[in-house]
């Protein structure tokens, strides 16, 4: 209904300019054009490449340029079984997947545990303090992601800042081995993605009606209980949004495990890069990419559905 309103209003605007007359001549309405631009962009630079990846995943490995082909014994063949079959049959891929999901899930939970109190505190501050705190959350984005991860190496390595401080204070006798461990990977991911958890949570908690908490306490509910009965359930959309923003990129994370993780931190992003560049096995690498995408589409769809429901509720 709202869209027809807008359309009606748009049609009432005075016609002006050559662009509009051109579009009208071509039978294209302004609204179509506005939608078409991002649509075409996504089609060209996301959907088409994805189709190419699927296409590559059904090919054979050859030592050539490019290193894949669909021609086998002189005939055109779609080789679906080999690349995707390998994902299932080779324990390496399954292990890497499960490991990625585990790292992403645990990092998401850690981000939530750290981010929720921060977002809650920010939302309850005075307007001026709020803006300063919000700036501080966004500030890290002004430095390149890569540089920030590199900086952690300087902090975590055996002769790094943390170890040196602890040694000089005589808290430890020998340096702690933090680099190239799972700990470093979790630390890197939680550090990098924390703002993505805080911002949607903050946006949600900030608009919450404080009268609801007052109403709960007025009805005999103690403040801590009111938090779990009222604030947490009402911030659920924020929790879902923040968790998705952390979980989805964390699953495919490559840079952090590569730089901070050890050989044991096998994540699917690293496997993908290895297949492409070390093994030059493009069909398998493409199959891995397709599988990651499918694994992530499901949580994304859940998120989308949830958001639609929220929007419906608000209207």
């Amino acid at each position: 209904m709202a869209s027809t309103d807008i359309a009606n209003r748009a049609s009432r605007l005075p016609a002006s300019g050559w662009l509009e007359s051109l579009l009208t001549g071509l039978g294209i309405r302004g609204r179509t054009l506005v939608i078409a631009i991002p649509f075409v962009w996504l089609l060209l630079f996301f959907f088409l490449p994805f189709l190419i990846v699927i296409w590559v995943s059904t090919s054979f490995v050859v030592i050539a340029q490019p290193p894949y082909t669909h021609i086998q014994d002189g005939t055109f063949t779609l080789n679906i079984g080999e690349s995707f079959g390998r994902l299932v049959s080779d324990a390496l891929y399954i292990k890497a997947y499960l490991n990625s999901l585990q790292v992403a899930a645990l990092s998401t939970i850690l981000c939530l545990i750290i981010g929720y109190p921060l977002a809650y505190g920010m939302a309850r501050c005075s307007q001026s303090t709020r803006n300063i705190l919000l700036m501080l959350v966004i500030l890290p984005f002004w430095t390149s992601f890569l540089i920030r991860v590199y900086a952690w190496i300087g902090l975590l390595k055996n002769n790094g800042l943390i170890n040196e401080i602890l040694l000089s204070l005589n808290i430890i006798d020998s340096p702690l081995n933090m680099m190239n461990t799972n700990f470093a990977v979790y630390l890197g991911i939680v550090y990098s993605y924390l703002p993505f958890m805080i911002l949607p949570l903050y946006a949600n908690l900030e608009k919450m009606d404080l009268a609801l908490i007052e109403a709960a306490t007025d009805l005999g509910c103690k403040p801590l209980k009111a938090f779990f009965l009222i604030t947490v359930p009402l911030s659920f959309p924020g929790i879902v949004a923040g968790s998705m923003l952390v979980f989805i990129p964390a699953v495919g994370e490559y840079v952090i495990p590569e730089l901070l993780g050890g050989p044991s931190s096998l994540m699917i992003g690293r496997v993908l890069v290895n297949e492409f560049f070390s093994n030059r096995d493009w069909p398998t690498a493409s199959a891995v990419a397709v599988a990651i995408l499918l694994a992530l589409v499901v949580p994304l769809m859940i998120y989308q559905k949830y958001q639609d429901k929220e929007l419906e509720k608000e209207s």
Partner: protein, 385 residues
């Protein structure tokens, strides 16, 4: 009882005896010299107030007069900067909202959006760990009373404004608090629904015997609902009285003007006797009032006369007092009554309302008619400030 009626004017809610006139009655809520400051701003300034069991007391005033702050101090959301609040004899200092025998109906209703109507209403009972069966029964009873049983499984966003308001009411009543606080309870409703709910509120209050304190800026709402009204201005209570007292005997110009509409004449006292006063109006003509005020002759006073207590006639009357002449400059026909704007010979405009007792007739007063304006000596009120 009959004697009391004569002197105090009968409260509208006839089941509540006028305990505030009984010197031996123990007040149920005692507010003693309460002040609330927010930084430099004094929201509530040294307010003392006694409210009795079963009353429906209204705090009436414009926005920013401190009425909501006073209510929030009773609920425990704010603590007084100075002074004490007693509910049923218990000092409320330091008692958090969740331990107070009060419940509040919020202006925004503050319904929990993620809970159904039933869950909203049962929330308070569940906090007090009532057995499941009793919770069910009391919630069902309450929903029945506010006629929301068919909607018990709905969420607040699926309800109309009036239904939400009734959920909020049910939620605040279900615990049968000693004191129910209502913050602009009817503010968001349209006129028809307001009127219906006003009577519903009075009914409920009457049936459950709970003491109500209502905060409102709507004088009509306060009039219909209340046993007594406390008029607030700038953090202070300026007058306390039954609706009739406030309307008929306002203490000053501000109250007279705030409650209903009023015509104000400035004048000088000529005679001030035990049984009457005579005031020479600046607009010309004398105003005779059939009760004395304690003031000296020569003092400046304001005389307030309600529009409905003034009579217009096309006859040329020549009374010595309580009679002025003017020309009708405007008529607003309201159906049941008409509002006349009359320009007096002195140039002052006054407002007169008269019931339309007959259909259009010869006698009807029309635009630009010359009229005599009269009133009964009992009608005017002399105000010193």
């Amino acid at each position: 009882m009959a004697a009391v009626e004569k002197t105090t004017k009968q409260p509208q809610n006839k089941h509540v005896s006028a305990s505030w006139t009984d010197p031996k009655a123990e007040p149920y809520i005692r507010i003693e010299n309460v002040t609330k400051k927010f930084g430099e701003f004094v929201a509530v300034n040294n307010v003392s107030l006694n409210i009795y069991r079963g009353e429906l007391f209204s705090l009436l005033g414009g926005s920013g007069c401190g009425k909501t702050t006073l209510l929030r101090m009773l609920a425990g959301f704010e603590s007084p900067s100075a002074g004490k609040i007693f509910i049923d004899g218990v000092d409320m200092a330091g008692i958090p909202p969740y331990d107070r025998p009060t419940n509040m109906m919020f202006q925004s209703y503050a319904l929990f959006p993620h809970m159904t109507v039933e869950q909203n209403v049962s929330f308070g009972l569940k906090q007090d760990k009532y057995p499941e069966s009793e919770v069910k029964q009391r919630v069902a009873q309450m929903l029945d009373m506010v006629q929301l049983t068919p909607f018990s499984k709905r969420k607040p966003h699926q309800l109309s404004g009036g239904q939400r308001q009734r959920v909020a009411l049910a939620r605040s009543l279900v615990k049968q608090p000693k004191l129910l606080l209502l913050d602009e309870p009817l503010g968001a409703l349209d006129k028809k629904l307001r009127e219906a709910t006003q009577f519903e509120l009075m009914n409920i209050q009457d049936r459950l015997g709970i003491t109500f304190i209502v905060v409102t800026h709507d004088q009509e709402e306060a009039m219909t609902l209340s046993t007594r009204i406390g008029v607030m201005n700038a953090g202070q209570i300026v007058q306390i009285g039954t609706p009739q007292e406030i309307y008929e005997y306002p203490q000053n110009k501000m109250i007279a003007d705030f409650i209903g509409s009023v015509n104000l004449f400035e004048g000088q006292i000529v005679e001030d006797e035990q049984d009457h006063v005579l005031i020479r109006s600046d607009e010309g003509g004398d105003i005779y009032i059939d009760h004395g005020i304690s003031s000296a002759p020569g003092a400046r006073v304001w005389v307030a006369i309600r529009p409905e207590k003034i009579h217009l006639t096309k006859q040329d009357l020549t009374e010595p007092n309580n009679c002025v002449k003017g020309v009708v400059k405007g008529i607003a026909y309201m159906g049941n009554l008409s509002i006349y704007l009359v320009q007096l010979d002195s140039g002052k405009q006054i407002k007169v309302t008269m019931p339309n007792q007959m259909r259009a007739s010869e006698m009807m007063i029309d635009w630009d008619d010359r009229v005599s304006v009269t009133w009964h000596p009992n009608s005017p009120v002399a105000l010193l400030s």
